[in-house]
């Protein structure tokens, strides 16, 4: 099995894929999330490979259906396949995606070491998405979805989600 770390996406299909968003974080397009691993036209059928963020991510089924509908609107048949390897990492979220997350109120993942310091040692380096203060603390290791942890800002008191680093 060849491991492809770089997604293989036909540029012509990008405008259609750009219309599909994560149903749980609607500001985030699936391309910016890095879950589309391959998108090519073959025998007039769009062959799309997506990878889940977490094994049980309930958004994957919806994303698959949304891809099929987005292509159907352009009169193209799409086939969606779920691939598990290589496993998704938060590094695949694009800079654009990180910006969208922050604007939506979800703190973007830090690096692996910083993430450990935050989640295990209670280091205060996650920036509050409301006021920008780093005087924040973790409230819960698990948040509203599998990919997030719950934080609170000690300055403006705003609770917010932090997108956990997954390597």
């Amino acid at each position: 099995m060849t491991i492809e770390l770089q997604p293989h996406i036909d540029p012509k299909l990008i405008p259609i894929l750009e219309k599909v968003h994560d149903p749980e974080i609607p500001v985030l397009g699936i391309l910016d999330m890095g879950v589309v691993r391959s998108a090519i036209m073959k025998d007039n059928v769009a062959q799309i490979k997506i990878t889940p963020t977490y094994s049980g991510c309930p958004a994957m089924d919806v994303i698959g259906d949304d891809i099929v509908s987005a292509f159907a609107e352009e009169n193209i048949t799409a086939k969606v396949q779920l691939v598990l390897s290589p496993a998704w990492t938060t590094d695949w979220i694009t800079p654009n995606g990180r910006k969208a997350l922050e604007e939506y109120g979800v703190a973007a993942p830090l690096g692996e070491e910083a993430d450990k310091a935050v989640l295990l040692e209670g280091k205060r380096i996650v920036k509050c998405t409301n006021c920008g203060s780093t005087n924040t603390k973790m409230i819960s290791q698990f948040g509203s979805t599998a990919c997030k942890a719950l934080f609170q800002c000690e300055d403006c008191l705003e609770p917010f989600d932090y997108f956990k680093c997954l390597k």
Partner: protein
């Protein structure tokens, strides 16, 4: 190794995730605090997600139009090959954490080996699962320490839970005849090799939590052969209710 050997082997791994996922799902809305409630259901979601990957693979191996739902919902009790540990009922929060911890330590060791399986699909599922299960183990280990080194009552309750569940730990390292066939092909894992690391890690955490490591000589077994305890039937009647009552229903 025949297809049926591989299918049975996958049940032995996947059914643990399904049944523990079901137990954790029962806690939804009943956790002692919002954070622990969300944590329990998040871990359930990870486990059920892993289960789906395994069962989808089994469905593709079996063919005959079988789906992951048939495998999850339409088997009889004896056809489930989960270990006894994961089917134990929730009782109280300390018990849930103890069961989770005793399983998480094993689960992570297993997946770390399984990611090197000769079977590409199993290796991929394991690699994905490692990221999730590491987080589970961190969560349950933290709570073992917090409860063990907490109040007199939390210490006593979690100690009793560990004492009660200890008799189910030995089964984790049993090899069935089928397991040996699949391990010989480099596809399955020889779980006997994980025993030493398992008890070492468990002991380290228990000691840090000021808990006593139980010393018992008599262990329970049977889950891997499909011989389950009295709780399993009730669990399955909940799990299978919809498919049994409205056959072939879909969301």
């Amino acid at each position: 190794m025949k297809n049926e050997n591989l299918v049975q082997y996958i049940y032995g791994i996947a059914d643990n995730a399904l049944i523990l996922g079901q137990r954790l799902s029962e806690l939804c809305g009943h956790g002692p605090s919002l954070e622990t409630d969300i944590a329990g259901t998040n871990m359930a979601l990870d486990l059920l997600g892993q289960t789906r990957s395994y069962y989808q693979y089994v469905a593709s191996l079996v063919g005959e139009g079988k789906t992951e739902d048939d495998i999850a919902f339409l088997r009889t009790e004896r056809q489930y090959k989960n270990v006894l540990l994961v089917e134990q009922p929730n009782r109280h929060f300390g018990y849930v954490i103890a069961r989770q911890f005793l399983f998480d330590v094993f689960h992570l060791l297993l997946l770390q080996e399984l990611q090197r399986s000769e079977d590409e699909t199993l290796a991929a599922i394991a690699k994905k699962g490692i990221k999730e299960v590491s987080y589970h183990r961190r969560f349950s280990s933290d709570w073992i320490k917090r409860l063990g080194d907490g109040t007199e009552e939390s210490h006593q309750k979690v100690q009793e839970a560990i004492n009660d569940l200890w008799r189910f730990t030995d089964e984790l390292f049993h090899m069935t005849e089928n397991d040996m066939i699949v391990a010989d092909e480099g596809v399955g894992i020889d779980v006997k090799q994980l025993r030493e690391d398992y008890y070492r890690i468990v002991k380290e955490v228990l000691e840090e939590a000021t808990l006593t490591v139980p010393e018992i000589k008599y262990f329970q077994k049977g889950g891997k052969q499909g011989i389950h305890g009295e709780h399993m039937g009730y669990l399955l009647s909940d799990l299978q209710y919809m498919q049994r009552t409205y056959p072939n229903m879909k969301w």
